[in-house]
């Protein structure tokens, strides 16, 4: 029989998280700080709107790009938050989570051999999506001493004459780093000079603490070079609804919608109706969740530092990314031993790129009570191994 598989697909490495997930799943009564989604339920008024849309029998396809009301609300929202005006008719589409937007955005832009710059540590799907779109992923290793921000020099060093797209994943999963105005101005300048496009994945945009989120699309000359990706998963605790969106110049958007039309048809209708409610009446929910995350963030950082971790202060998302370099173990060794001995699951930094070696991703999408129990165990672990010298 012929080999049924595509070499391109077979060559793609499975996610490092997957491997760790398998180990964790075997452990009974493990406490996890390894989750990448909110612990809150979707606010009731949003769920209720979804239920209502089902009761009304709104169970049909929507137009490919999404419900008109939702696209209008998305444009209003972006204008409210970033002072950028998008045309709901031509420059916005609703996708199946931010993930789909990443995939089709890359497929719409890349030809074989085009290079895509990916700052790591980062979310696990950029590299595979670039490969599936026949692009060439080029990794930029971000440094802790720069607070895991992308610097102008790092960007310049990575650019070749094949570079086409820069992925900008901030606020960042797993580091919690954010890019502020001064940082983005430098990046935007390089992007314009070298005629690049930006895919800005801003799924955590609502979750910044004490600092304002800034979108690169709001800088001069950048809207026409940017695919802005966002969604409802993190800000409104709607991960299971699978709903995201992309805003892009019409020329790119047309092609993205074409792929979406053939591969997906449209995003789930129930979720789209719920999302309209989220954007119209959900600002306060976002604020309350953000306050809760912020309290946990401070608590977690203080405790980790007290226990003996070097931990840079993240201002976004819901992760801390402490260093374990001084403990003399690799990230995987540390995470696996911690899991086996104390039954606490954290994710080794290497799941997010090789340069994540020496770090752990610890999520604070958990209640303070949960965090306290887990931290006690982590402290035990550090003491037992006499690591806190």
């Amino acid at each position: 029989m012929r080999n049924p598989l595509s070499n391109k697909v077979v060559d793609i490495q499975p996610s490092g998280i997957r491997k760790f997930f398998d180990i964790v799943s075997e452990m009974k009564d493990a406490i996890s700080l390894g989750v990448g989604e909110p612990d809150f339920d979707t606010p009731w008024h949003i769920r209720e709107e979804g239920i209502y849309s089902l009761e009304k029998g709104r169970t049909f396809y929507t137009s490919n790009a999404g419900l008109k009301e939702l696209k209008i609300e998305i444009c209003n929202y972006i204008n409210r938050k970033c002072r950028v005006k998008y045309d709901f008719n031509k420059e916005v589409m609703v996708t199946v989570g931010g993930s789909e937007a990443i995939d089709i955005g890359l497929r719409a832009m890349l030809d074989p051999g085009d290079e895509v710059l990916i700052p790591q540590p980062c979310y696990v799907s950029y590299v595979p999506c670039v490969k599936l779109a026949d692009g060439v992923p080029v990794i930029i290793e971000l440094k802790e001493e720069n607070n895991f921000k992308l610097t102008k020099q790092e960007l310049l060093d990575a650019i070749t004459d094949k570079t086409k797209v820069l992925i900008l994943p901030f606020p960042n999963n797993p580091t919690g780093a954010i890019m502020e105005y001064e940082d983005l101005v430098d990046i935007a300048e390089v992007v314009r000079e070298h005629d690049l496009y930006v895919m800005s994945d801003e799924i955590y945009s609502e979750l910044t603490y004490g600092r304002q989120h800034m979108s690169i699309t709001s800088l001069p000359g950048m809207k026409e070079r940017t695919i802005l990706i966002n969604g409802f998963s993190k800000s409104y605790a709607m991960t299971g609804w699978r709903l995201g969106y992309a805003c892009a110049p019409e020329i790119i958007m047309e092609q993205m919608i074409k792929i979406h039309q053939f591969a997906i048809m449209c995003a789930p209708t129930t979720s789209q109706y719920a999302a309209v409610e989220a954007l119209r009446n959900g600002d306060n929910d976002v604020l309350l969740m953000k306050e809760a995350y912020d309290a946990r963030r401070r608590f977690l950082i203080d405790e980790l530092r007290r226990i003996g971790f070097d931990c840079f202060e993240p201002y976004g998302a819901f992760y801390v990314f402490p260093s374990i370099k001084k403990f003399g173990m690799t990230s995987e060794e540390f995470a696996e031993t911690l899991l086996r001995e104390e039954k606490v699951a954290v994710v080794p930094g290497t799941a997010f790129g090789e340069c994540g070696e020496g770090f752990l991703r610890i999520s604070y999408a958990y209640s303070i009570e949960n965090l306290k129990v887990a931290l006690e165990r982590i402290e035990n672990f550090v003491n037992n191994h006499k690591l806190n010298k």
Partner: protein, 160 residues
């Protein structure tokens, strides 16, 4: 600052000042000073525990009584409210707008005890014009907390 502290302990009074300080980005001294000051000013009036007595095998009856009263000259409703809330079986008393004047919530050991209270203590008061007693059959949610709905974390243990 006070608002932040109050919001944090509203649903969880078990947090220590050290934990609060860490969560709110304040020093422990400031948190403690503010807590003490707010206790003194009766902004914080106590640290009770929310108990679902139904589950604690403890027979209890809660009744909500609508009371119409005649306000007294010079004292309005406060005097009569005080005469009512001083009884130890009274859990809460609120002055209401609308069809009646006071909501009185009673926690009693039995329906008989509540009925006794209403007929021998509350209804005969001079200023009380009428009462309507409603017994609580089941408590679902109190102080923003769902009583019988322990949330299980159904998320996958590790996700990207």
């Amino acid at each position: 600052m006070r608002q932040k502290i109050l919001k944090a302990i509203d649903k969880n009074s078990k947090l220590t000042s050290k934990e609060l300080a860490s969560m709110l980005g304040m020093t422990e001294e400031i948190v403690e000073a503010e807590l003490r000051a707010m206790e003194k000013e009766s902004i914080i009036c106590g640290y009770p525990t929310l108990i679902n007595w139904d589950k604690a095998d403890n027979e209890r009856v809660t009744a909500l009584i609508e009371v119409k009263v005649t306000p007294q000259r010079g004292e309005g409703f406060d005097k009569i409210a005080e005469r009512i809330y001083k009884f130890e079986e009274v859990e809460s008393v609120y002055l209401m707008s609308g069809g009646f004047d006071l909501t009185v919530i009673i926690d009693g050991k039995s329906m008989r005890e509540v009925a006794n209270f209403v007929s021998s203590k509350l209804a005969p008061m001079d200023s009380v014009l009428s009462t309507a007693t409603h017994f609580v059959l089941k408590k679902y949610k109190e102080h923003g907390i769902e009583l019988d709905n322990k949330k299980v974390d159904e998320r996958m243990l590790v996700t990207p």
